[in-house]
Amino acid sequence: MSEVFRWSRAFSVARKEVRHVWRDPFTLAWSIGLPLILVIFFGYAIDFNVRDVQLNIADRDNTRASRQFLQQFSSSQYFKLKHVKPGENVRRDLDQERIKGVLIIEPGFGRAVGAKQPTTVQLLLDGADNSTVGIIIGYVAGIQKAVQQKLYGERKIMPLQMKSRFLFNQEQSSQWFIVPGLVVIVVGLLSILLTALTVAREWENGSMELLLSTPVKPLEIILGKLAPYLVIVLISAGLVYLIARFQFGIPFRGSHLLFVGGVILFLTLCLAQGLLISVITRQQQLAMMLSFISGLLPTLLLSGFIFPIESMPKFFYYFTYILAPRWFMVISRGLFLKGAGIYELAEPLLMLLLLNIILVVVAIKSFKQDMEP
Amino acid sequence: MSKAPPLVVDVQDLTIRFGSFVAVNRISFSVKQGEIFGFLGANGAGKTTTIRMLCGLLIPNEGEAYISGISIHQDVQAIKTKVGYMSQHFTLYNDLTVAENLAFAADLRKLEETALEKRKKELFQFVDFTYPEKILVKNLPGGVKQQISLATAILHDPDIIFLDEPTAGVAPLVRAKFWKLINKLARAGKTVFVTTHYLDEAEQCDRIALMRDGEIIALDTPKKLKQKTFPEPLLEIEPPLGASRSWMDKLKVDPKIAVIQAYGRRYHVLVKNGKEWKKISRKLPRDYLLRKIQPSLEDVFIRQVEGDPA
């Protein structure tokens, strides 16, 4: 390169981009409004603590014991019971997805309980939706213990009691689990999409060639074009933080400095990813598809947001090492809920830094190469 | 109608507003068959908007226009079969070949394949297109792209052709070639509307409408426009090299003079009374050259569009 990098030129590219964003209030409203809506919406909408699970009851025994047994189910708050008339097809409602399961008590239940003999009750569950099945099975296990104690007396006490402490999220609240994760989702999505599209648009309508005919250097274009979006996404992240703290009362137990550092590392990485996408595609439609495939889906599905990374098969577990949202997820949750410090977060921070450097270098290189024939 | 040539476009009090902005304000004119009709005006004067209304792409708020006898409020689809429109934007698909672009345009107009093949040959000959038709449009030079745009616009052999700045950003040689095509179309009995920035092109129109701020401020043949705008002779003064401006400044306040306009080193001067021009010449220092000239359209344009208190 014959000339050196000049901040003034990068700055004027940035000014042009700011004017762009400013003149299109839709973009601005979207970048600020969407995160707000998402966080509030999903903070309230998502609750893994399933209540009022609909069960059909076929009580073919109909004794005092069977009624006591069912009493335990209905008083648990978890289940809503509906008795089926004798002779009616118990599975029809299940097939039609009106209910989650059927509980069948065969005749002889009361007699067995009276004689303190072992007996069995059947529970059929709809396994097509196993996001709830696991949870329901857990509830049933708890009720089983209680009801056994009630019907058979106190004779079976475990000699060894578990005293569990649910650290970092004592109330076992879904919001505490979800909302710090949404920070990752919002930052990742906004930054990848916005950059991928603005740069691709520049290619598509030919104004990139105009920029190239001026003495502006590639690096200046990159910095100038991306800086406004960096600011926008930082503001969005700040908003998500405020909502998390004050709307949902989620604690923030770690260092704010680390949080800001983590956000910036992750954010610049996503901007670089967006840039790379636009260089590869140069067309908005393709850029959008690729952003979804390489940004949205992995961020939602492979980052540990909902589906735990630990449960993945070995190969995929190590595959997630190259995914930035996975590491930022650990950092965000660690800082919000666990109060983790730089020592505890050393691994994710280093990985994020490493990925950041690699992606930024590759993006800048390919952008430059693309522009200098 | 027995009288020839018939009116093909008849516009009365056409008005369109975008919000509170009046883009075109009560314009009226009519155009005969075979005419080359030019729209001249600055950017934003309302030329493109007018053309788009006449093609049925914009719906006017008030007024009426008949295209080949059909009202634009009545049957836009029928009008679209009669007119061809070449936008000032590039409207071909860059990622399709020339043949594919034309085939798609033919499908849009439900032109049968055999008819298309025949018409394509005619058009390629007409615009003098010598590239293979399987070439991607994006690989064509700018002037050829314009030719293909024109070919696409007149694929269905329309009676009226609207060309919106067809030669913008095209090399002079290509422009001249393009105007030959326009003349050829007119000779074939087509009515051609052209908007342009180039005044030399406007000279080639049969009639010109000058537009400013959404209104037609003058409409006539180039010759009559000049006569009407400059009933008095137009003078050109050429000061010697290195002359100071002070003398000309003095002349500007002379009550006999209507307008003085700088043209580079020279000045175009309009006197209030034609007979007085000799008096002025006597006043001039000897090394100042003064001559009577024919007004160009540029003079007309400046005087009409940019306006003056005279």
Binding site: E97, P118, L125, K163, R201, M289, E310 | F104
Partner: protein
């Protein structure tokens, strides 16, 4: 067929097939994604990093640790030290702390208590872990004290229907299918009409004497066809790779897929009639797809959402198609479920189509 619409189909196909990158994104990427997500994602609780802290010689505690690790659910945590820090740093997800005297002695003297520290950041997982531990401790105790009959006398025999092995892939693959289909239809259609406006070719369309419905149908039909090809590929992959039991006749699958494609294509068109630039169209698609994915039932249970949000979920075509797919692929389809969800999709499609048709203008105002 109408020549104009045929022309549109030809033109869109040429454009798509000329761009090799688009082909890869449309037909190869979905298969890779399906495989990736289908294999990788699971909400089973597995590979739990466990640390058990006990005095040397506490055979009971060691026994519990061995049994846990042997169960396959647990893996040893790395590092030692303060149990709280172990969990905080993520090196362990659960730490069992035996009483200082040792579990063995505690049990001999009549009963003991074992401390369990769980990482409840993901509280679903934490609950699962607690259940597993309970079961393991109970097993160990049953082995240690065979004279005490610890077997439960009251069994609840749970049978999980339609997916007895509780395979996560059975549950997730239909979800991923829905998302991938939606990507193609919504993004491509919403952006493609606006794209013509942006690059100027829209003027070519509207200067020709074409009807509104011809343009709308011509611009959308190619994507319906592409999406049907794509769904076929995805279905083949789902059945071949993940062994999804195709429980219903194929026509039911295609009818459902066709209806869903029509709905999402109509929604894409609706978005494009409301946008002036591709960027706005993509924001609009995003605004639809993101909640659409999250409220489809693929990731979260929908049952106990607040009423207002449930209302929104009822407008979500992804939810209906997911229900249909699970029904068709896994359950063998109850007719009522099939037709009611199909009807809901059709209704959404009609509304979206009517809306786009009303909004679509050939004028450039």
């Amino acid at each position: 067929m109408n020549q104009t619409i045929r022309g549109f189909i030809k033109k869109e196909f040429i454009q798509v097939f000329r761009d090799k990158r688009m082909l890869v994104l449309l037909f190869i990427a979905p298969i890779i994604q399906l495989t990736l997500f289908g294999y990788a994602i699971s909400n089973e609780v597995r590979n739990i990093r466990l640390a058990v802290q006990f005095q040397p010689g506490d055979s009971m505690a060691r026994h519990i640790e061995e049994r846990a690790l042997a169960s396959g659910w647990f893996v040893p945590a790395t590092g030692e030290g303060d149990p709280f820090v172990l969990v905080q740093s993520g090196r362990a997800e659960v730490v069992l702390v035996a009483p200082p005297k040792g579990l063995t002695t505690a049990l001999r003297s009549g009963g003991g208590e074992i401390q369990v520290l769980l990482d409840a950041t993901n509280m679903i997982r934490a609950r699962g872990i607690e259940q597993y531990l309970q079961a393991i401790i109970w097993e160990v105790l049953a082995g240690e004290f065979p004279q005490q009959d610890l077997k439960p006398v009251l069994n609840i025999n749970t049978r999980v229907l339609y997916n007895p092995a509780m395979k996560t892939s059975y549950f997730l693959v239909p979800g991923v299918m829905v998302v991938l289909m939606c990507l193609l239809t919504v993004i491509m259609t919403s952006m493609s009409i606006v794209r013509e406006r942006e690059i100027g070719t829209f003027e070519t369309l509207v200067t020709a004497p074409v009807r509104n419905w011809e343009i709308l149908l011509g611009k959308t039909l190619p994507f319906v066809i592409l999406a049907l090809v794509q769904v076929t590929l995805i279905l083949i992959a789902a059945v071949l790779i993940f062994g999804l039991p195709m429980q219903s006749p194929l026509w039911k699958f295609y009818l459902a897929a066709f209806m869903f494609i029509c709905t999402t294509v109509a929604i894409g068109t609706m978005i494009s009639t409301m946008s002036r630039t591709q960027q706005q169209a993509m924001m609009g698609s995003f605004l639809f797809m993101f909640p659409g994915i999250l409220l489809s039932g693929m990731m979260f249970p929908l049952e106990n959402m607040p009423k207002a949000i449930m209302g929104i979920a009822y407008l979500n075509p992804l939810k209906y198609f997911l229900t249909l797919l699970r029904n068709i692929l896994l359950k063998g389809g109850d007719d009522w479920v099939f037709w009611s969800n199909l009807g809901a999709l059709a209704l959404l499609a009609v509304v979206a189509m009517a809306f786009s048709f009303n909004r679509f203008k050939q004028t450039l105002n």
